[in-house]
């Protein structure tokens, strides 16, 4: 799962899709996940790192991550 090449993101959680002109903002957790996706980190690794860092139940995080990436796909931010 990859972030589209031309997508611009900021450290503050702002996303700009230059192909469509759409812009979005995400919360700090979303910003962290986007940063991983930008570096092409596999989802398994992202789950590992985030669950450990935030002491969160793996199944809950997996479901939330799935929701988040589905939205990103819907808005053509992910390939």
């Amino acid at each position: 799962m990859k972030l589209k090449k031309n997508i611009a993101t900021s450290e503050e959680g702002f996303i700009f899709n230059p192909s469509t002109g759409d812009s979005f903002s995400v919360n700090p957790i979303g910003t962290e996940i986007l940063a991983f996706l930008k570096k092409d980190k596999p989802l398994d690794e992202i789950i590992e790192i985030m669950c450990e860092k935030y002491d969160v139940d793996r199944s809950i995080f997996e479901k939330d991550l799935d929701d988040f990436t589905s939205q990103l796909k819907e808005y053509t931010i992910l390939d």
Binding site: A8, P18, S19, G21
Partner: protein
């Protein structure tokens, strides 16, 4: 003439559409872009229709203004006025920017050229082919997606036309205005409303759901696109005009503009209004045969279309641009320009300022 002397020559350019109001003409933006180009010096002559067009009073942009007759006055009265202005100002180039005046200027371009006044306008054939009323046939001929439409001349034809479309449909005037109708009754009301304002015929058009994208393009008249900048409106006024917009990065919009310029051999500026559907189709909704009011954004993002038009009109070879800044935003603003009654009297009484 060596390079230095041509650079030092002052090009006298007449520009119309100085009505920088809430539904703005492009003239002031065109002048701003031209003045920012370091490659030539210019004297700008404003050509106005009304005494309160804001550009008239922007003396840092416009050196002198003359009123010209309304387009409905025809080519003879326009020519007489242009001769008078030319005697005083020795014009090198005229850039007309209003849809309604372009027909007259295109008709006069050979005569103007004989007088030593250049233009950089499309030929009459492509100018008329992209007209709203003929756009569907134009698209069909050249393999460009255009929403299906039906031209009607009286209200009796409306119900017959409605049978060919699904609701919602769009009822459009021949010059401006479009109303989305969800029922036959709404369509009939829209018909009368638009007829009262813009006359006949009326266009019944298929409704296309999607995101509106605008593309400012400049053609060299030989089929080559010198520049194409796609923009999405970020804020729209109640008149549907862009109050803010952003440059986009999508090759398909640039390719669409290139195709249009190629098949029409478009000379000069134009704006394609495109509807991008959810399934990735790009419909051309309208083609405006002149620069849009947001044209300064092309200069701000690295492709100064008005300045390139000036260069080509003056005989210079201009290479197509290849890059521009994506994510460049314009935000329009309103400003109370202060002038004096004496200026208003000059333009109202003498037709000059």
């Amino acid at each position: 003439m060596n390079k230095n002397s041509s650079k030092n020559k002052v090009i006298v350019i007449a520009v119309t559409a100085l009505n920088a109001i809430d539904s703005p003409g492009p003239g002031v933006a065109v002048i701003r872009a031209i003045r920012e180009c370091p490659d030539f010096k210019v004297r700008i002559i404003g050509l106005s229709y009304e005494s309160l067009e804001p550009g008239l009073y922007m003396h840092d942009l416009v050196d002198k203004t003359y009123q010209i007759p309304y387009p409905s006055g025809g080519t003879d009265s326009l020519m007489n006025r242009l001769k008078f202005i030319h005697e005083k100002e020795n014009l090198d180039l005229i850039i007309p920017n209003f849809d309604a005046e372009l027909f007259n200027f295109i008709k006069l371009k050979d005569k103007l050229n004989e007088m030593g006044i250049r233009t950089f306008l499309p030929d009459m054939e492509p100018f008329e082919a992209r007209d709203k009323i003929k756009l569907y046939d134009f698209g069909k001929k050249h393999g460009l997606l255009v929403p299906k439409d039906k031209i009607i001349h009286n209200v009796k034809e409306l119900s017959k036309a409605i049978d060919e479309f699904e609701f919602p449909l769009v009822v459009k005037g021949k010059f401006y205005d479009a109303i989305i109708a969800k029922t036959e009754e709404e369509a009939e009301n829209a018909f009368y409303k638009i007829q009262a304002k813009w006359g006949l015929p009326i266009i019944i058009q298929e409704f296309i759901k999607g995101t509106e994208i605008n593309i400012a393009a400049l053609g060299d008249g030989e089929g080559v696109t010198i520049s194409a900048i796609p923009m999405r409106k970020l804020y729209i006024t109640d008149k549907g005009k862009a109050w803010s917009g952003i440059t986009l990065d999508d090759e398909k919009f640039i390719d669409l503009a290139k195709k249009f310029v190629k098949v029409t051999r478009w000379r000069g500026g134009c704006e394609l209004e495109v509807m991008q559907t959810g399934d990735g189709k790009s419909y051309i909704m309208e083609v405006n045969p002149r620069f849009p009011a947001w044209i300064y954004l092309t200069a701000a993002s690295g492709q100064n279309q008005p300045a390139s038009l000036v260069k080509m009109a003056m005989g210079e070879k201009v290479e197509p641009f290849t890059e521009y800044e994506v994510g460049k935003i314009f935000v329009r603003y309103a400003w109370d320009l202060i002038t004096d009654i004496s200026e208003f009297l000059k333009i109202s009484g003498n037709g000059e300022l």
